[in-house]
């Protein structure tokens, strides 16, 4: 494995992370903008990137904005919104081909950074605020996105389970915000929020490709017109204790298949030294086709097509999800609880651990081959204030003992059972 490392620098409030590499045919840019997740900010912050992608000062009409991307050899531009730890993060992405594959007159990297800088810091304005037509249209788009969560029942059940489990903390909120807040937002209030956001958020720009820190720094200095200040840092999440007795929530919709989701709290998060043990715990329990959940719920009992667990290390939450015949609720829940109990009692074979470690190490090595995955992994370390690399996490995983897994299991406590079912027998 070639040891390509991120080079670090900063431009004003924004940290720079540059990965010089010749392995890919593209330059990959990611810009992370994070603020603490909270009720007052969540909706305007969610709406902001939707408005920013409508136009910039140089390309104020959406159609010219989109044409500019097409002219840059169909540069892939997009953004994501998510919760990570106690933060609401907006991630902008721009993927553009390296000039050497086409006969281009311009430095495509320079154009890409300049474009991204404009998107974030020089939006299309009218009378010193956002264009109200864009704000109004994008309010509708965000409302539709929030409403649309119910269309995908797997996602809906997952979001509802988290909402119920975290109902007394900001983490219950969707990264997309609250629909009811939208009507109170206009171009003026959103622009003021946006300006505060730029002045207070943690900003990290990542660039991977055939370039250097010096080159990115000189492009970024011209491209980003940020409020003055020095770089900020993220702080570690606050882990809540589980409720004393698990709650059970049953919801009814017109569905054919039941969705059984379990929400559990752990006592470990990504930045903790025992994180690797929890990762292996999750692997033995339910992350893979050789894991207990897949083998026992699907292969042995034929109850489900999918039965898996997922670890949200940044918030210290573990979720279990499965799609089952509605009448099999008790049986499936029983089998899942047996697997959780077995983990606590150390009932797993050396083979299970070896397979899990081999799979985790494979996943960690695979990260090397994707620019965006390398960026994501590095950002996870930055977010949680660790010095972890994919290589060092591999070593941590390798060192996990059966005792450490059992110890991790003691910290995993069932908090919420959520079941989405049909309307039959409902009065």
């Amino acid at each position: 494995m070639t040891a390509e490392l991120f080079e670090r620098g900063s431009v004003g409030r924004m940290r720079l992370h540059v990965l010089p590499t010749k392995r890919f045919k593209t330059f990959s840019l990611s810009l992370f903008v994070g603020i603490p997740l909270n009720e007052a900010w969540v909706t305007p912050v969610a709406l902001t990137p939707f408005v920013l992608r409508r136009g910039t000062a140089a390309y104020p009409e959406t159609i010219s904005f989109r044409e500019r991307l097409d002219d840059l050899y169909g540069a892939g531009f997009g953004f994501d919104l998510y919760k990570r730890g106690d933060y609401q993060i907006v991630q902008f992405r721009l993927d553009i081909i390296n000039d050497r594959f086409v006969s281009s007159q311009e430095s495509l990297l320079k154009e890409a950074i300049s474009f991204l800088g404009e998107v974030l810091t020089a939006p299309a304005l009218e009378d010193g605020q956002f264009r109200s037509r864009y704000v109004e249209t994008e309010k509708t788009t965000v409302a539709k996105r929030i409403d649309a969560i119910i269309n995908d029942k797997i996602r809906y059940a997952g979001e509802r389970c988290i909402e119920e489990m975290c109902k007394d903390e900001p983490y219950r909120l969707l990264a997309l915000g609250r629909k009811d807040d939208l009507s109170g937002i206009d171009a003026d209030s959103l622009y003021r929020r946006y300006s505060e956001w730029l002045g207070s958020a943690v900003l990290d720009l990542y660039v991977s490709g055939d370039t250097s820190l010096g080159e990115v720094q000189s492009f970024a200095e011209k491209a980003f017109k940020l409020p003055s200040g020095s770089p900020q840092r993220y702080s570690a999440p606050v882990l809540r204790a589980p409720r004393a007795e698990p709650q059970t929530i049953v919801e009814r919709l017109d569905v054919g298949q039941g969705k059984l989701n379990l929400g559990l709290r752990t006592s470990t998060s990504y930045g903790d030294p025992d994180y690797a043990a929890l990762l292996v715990y999750n692997g033995v329990l339910g992350a893979f086709p050789h894991s207990k959940l897949f083998v026992n719920v699907r292969e042995k009992a034929s109850l489900a097509y999918y039965a898996a667990s997922r670890l949200d290390g940044h918030k210290g939450l573990l979720t279990i999800q499965s799609g089952i015949e509605i009448e099999n609720y008790e049986r499936a829940l029983g089998i899942i609880r047996e697997q959780l109990a077995a983990m606590k009692e150390g009932q797993f074979a050396a083979d299970d651990i070896a397979r899990t470690k081999a799979m985790l190490e494979n996943q960690l090595r695979e990260i090397q081959d994707s620019a965006y995955e390398r960026i994501s992994f590095d950002f996870n370390s930055v977010l949680s204030g660790t010095e972890r690399t994919a290589g060092s996490l591999q070593a941590e995983v390798d060192a996990v003992t059966p005792e450490a897994i059992v110890e991790a299991a003691q910290g995993v406590v069932l908090d919420t059972i959520y079941f989405l079912r049909d309307r039959k027998g409902d009065n």
Binding site: K25, A148, I150, P289, E299, D351, N362, E366, D369
Partner: protein
């Protein structure tokens, strides 16, 4: 072993057709950690009526190709996922209309994993008991998709377009068809379609081409196969017209979902002309409907579409159709606005600058795709089944002409062959 360099793309492909008929492709990616391999049979959900060499024609239950894919993972010594896991590999498979693909990705023990991939697919192990057990799992998979409105609106459109061609049959079948499947039927399909001469192996990643090829050849040399007989696939004649112009179903959704598309004469499903037609059609659709088109922006401003509005073009043996649409507050208005745009563009023609921009965008997207070994493996195999070469697509895009695109538009957008599929909730 043949070596084919693509200097412009900085890629080199190695190829050999083995004595048993298996086609092996190796694409070394120096510096990559991961290796990704796909083992593909030209056998999918549409192959439900066929005549095995020297036998009577058989019609098999819907969903059997997919069932076979599930069952292949079971070996006498247990589940093959565990074997892959202990070798640090992540394995999977999928079934489409015209192919079934088995795959793994791994960062170590590559040769061992290649052996495991070849061995498990070439060693069917079906018992009455393990076939019965799988039915519950597949029925839950079917139920999962039945609750998925995106999937329902998509299949609704294909059902509206096609009356005879099996492309309109659900890849997983129905609970009833799945219950009727027996191990004897699975073996019959296996013998017919899993002969090495009907299959290809594609390996991409940080590997040595010579050593990997030698390993594949040694693996295959150690197995014997009956000579391959010709398999005849039987298709009833599909009428030119759509089966029904409109299909509507109810499911809980926040906004109606609406997909529509034009059915075309299938033409040749393989060969240069077929691939050229596919690329030209996709470029045409993007020029007309892409996010930088005036139509897209106007529909968006009028709150008739959302970010999910998109388009695709699907072709295979005996079928060719476009799919356009997404979530909308007013399906009828959306269909009428878009079909009107097709009509007026057919008359006025797509402009030179729009065409050039769409072409540039396609070439850029293609080059970005080459960063992903998974995408390369999937797309390479897809084009290979059509008798084409994924790595020759830039030249093909560059040779397309505006006249060709406009001719494609006029030919494709035939209003008499349009069908619409809608999913609505009670309140929408």
């Amino acid at each position: 072993m043949a070596v084919k360099p693509y200097p412009k793309l900085q890629e080199t492909l190695y190829f050999e057709k083995l004595d048993n008929g298996l086609e092996v492709f190796i694409l070394p990616k120096p510096g990559f950690t991961k290796t990704y391999a796909t083992f593909t049979t030209r056998y999918g959900s549409i192959d439900n009526h066929f005549r095995p060499a020297g036998k009577e024609a058989v019609r098999v239950p819907d969903g059997i190709a997919h069932f076979l894919e599930h069952k292949m993972f079971e070996e006498p010594e247990g589940d093959i996922f565990s074997t892959f896991a202990s070798q640090g590999a992540s394995a999977n498979a999928f079934t489409s209309f015209d192919r079934t693909v088995y795959l793994f990705s791994a960062t170590g023990s590559v040769e061992k994993n290649v052996d495991t991939l070849l061995n498990f697919v070439q060693n069917p192990y079906f018992t009455d008991e393990n076939v019965e057990k799988e039915k519950g799992i597949i029925i839950q998979e079917i139920n999962m998709y039945r609750d998925n409105p995106d999937w329902r609106v998509y299949y609704g459109l294909i059902e509206a377009l096609y009356s005879k061609h099996p492309v309109h049959i659900d890849i997983a079948g129905t609970a009833e068809s799945v219950r009727s499947i027996t191990k004897e039927m699975l073996y019959e399909c296996y013998r017919t379609f899993y002969h090495p001469s009907n299959m290809s192996l594609f390996i991409v990643g940080g590997i040595d081409a010579e050593a990997t090829m030698a390993r594949v050849k040694a693996n295959q040399a150690g197995k014997s196969f009956d000579p391959a007989g010709p398999v005849e696939r039987l298709f009833e004649e599909e009428p030119a017209e759509v089966r029904q112009p409109r299909i509507e179903i109810k499911l809980p959704v926040s906004l109606p979902k609406c997909l529509f598309g034009y059915k075309e004469d299938p033409g040749a499903s393989a060969g240069d002309a077929a691939i050229r037609r596919e690329l030209a059609t996709k470029l045409m659709l993007d020029a007309l409907l892409g996010a930088s088109s005036p139509l897209y922006q106007q529909l968006y401003e009028d709150n008739l579409i959302s970010d999910g509005f998109g388009h695709e073009y699907n072709t295979g043996p005996g079928y060719a159709f476009s799919v356009v649409g997404g979530d909308t507050r007013d399906p009828d208005e959306l269909v009428s606005r878009v079909t009107e745009a097709f009509r007026s563009a057919s008359e006025s023609g797509i402009g030179e600058d729009v065409f050039e921009r769409a072409r540039r965008k396609k070439i850029g997207a293609y080059l970005r795709m080459l960063n992903s070994p998974e995408a390369i493996a999937g797309e390479f195999t897809r084009y290979r089944l059509k008798g084409g070469d994924l790595f020759a697509l830039v030249e093909l895009y560059e040779s397309l002409t505006l006249e060709e695109i406009n001719a494609r538009l006029r030919e494709h957008a035939d209003p008499s062959r349009l069908a619409v599929s809608i999913v609505r909730g009670d309140a929408t």
